[in-house]
Symmetry: C2
Subunit: 184 residues, 2 copies
Amino acid sequence: MSGERGGLGPPQTLKLNATAASVLGLLHRGPMTGWDVARLAEVGLGDFWNVTQSQVYRELRNLEALGLVVAGPAGRRDKKPYAITDSGRDAFAVWIRREPGADLIRSPLLLMVFFGSHLDPAHRQRFLAIQRLRHEQTLDEYRRILDQVVHDEPDLAKVLQFAVFHEQAVLQWFAWLEHEERPG
Amino acid sequence: MSGERGGLGPPQTLKLNATAASVLGLLHRGPMTGWDVARLAEVGLGDFWNVTQSQVYRELRNLEALGLVVAGPAGRRDKKPYAITDSGRDAFAVWIRREPGADLIRSPLLLMVFFGSHLDPAHRQRFLAIQRLRHEQTLDEYRRILDQVVHDEPDLAKVLQFAVFHEQAVLQWFAWLEHEERPG
DNA sequence: CTGGGCATGTAACTCGTTACATGATTAG
DNA sequence: CTAATCATGTAACGAGTTACATGCCCAG
């Protein structure tokens, strides 16, 4: 009864959360310090799976405790390079076979629109204009990066292509909104 | 030094988080129990600003402590209707004037695609097919609801229209992906 | 050799999720 | 009357965010 997972036997069913799994995934590229993992996560997953530095460090500590990564000898400062272990690779392989869950979107902008009647039109339109501009820039940015990586990193390119379609949809919506507000 | 916010003077700059603000926003429609707020949040904000029951209850407690809502007399069971106060209205009005921040998207699907090379093609395609189907259904659903509310609830309709554009973009991406995988 | 920014990591806090408890209401 | 489901709420946990500490490196 007590000690149902007391330490003996390989933990068959350890459940990795998605953030931990991402860290493991990135470590497939070779040993890295927490800082580097965080940076890679930011550029690669960027806007579709946000991971902060602190999370990375926490997960690395957890993963080490589980034996899924090992820390190499600390270099300058505390700089510890972590490397994925074989169990780590196994755990990741198991994780990535689960069917992916539903997307989570959290949009302050849509929240604002939903409560739009509580906001005077001037404010509303100003906010919309700002956001629209921002999304236009974001779209350009995605297109630029996509061009750069399209040949070398096909998986990243797929993600970026999603980003492009998504941003286009957002802009389409802005256009539609303006058309709506017009007639009066 | 001690007690920088010790209790005297109106808390000019109390910072409402977005979830608390949503609760206040919904309470503009009239007094409601936590359950009702949660239900409204789910149908209205639904997929673009997720709010769970527990959060609602917690925020209601906080808001009451701050004097932004008041609880009426408990009815059957613990059923407590909460009503927004004048300070509540003020706080909400202040909140909704802040410029909305960036969207947060957290997509297990894109995570999977990003790590796609670690997954065998069979799995990958199966997952994509499942998700695609799901998004097709979701789009239909949004269109249906949009039709229902388009006349009575313009703000909700705007949100739903966004949902439709978004889902269309997702489907566009799926189509593009298949086209990509094809040639070999 | 010093001051500012970058690299590296930890700690504390807030928020979101999951699990649970229990009274009402309805179907059979 | 009893079982199932719905309504209502609390508690505990896990994940995400913000704030901080401190060593390294380079420009002046």
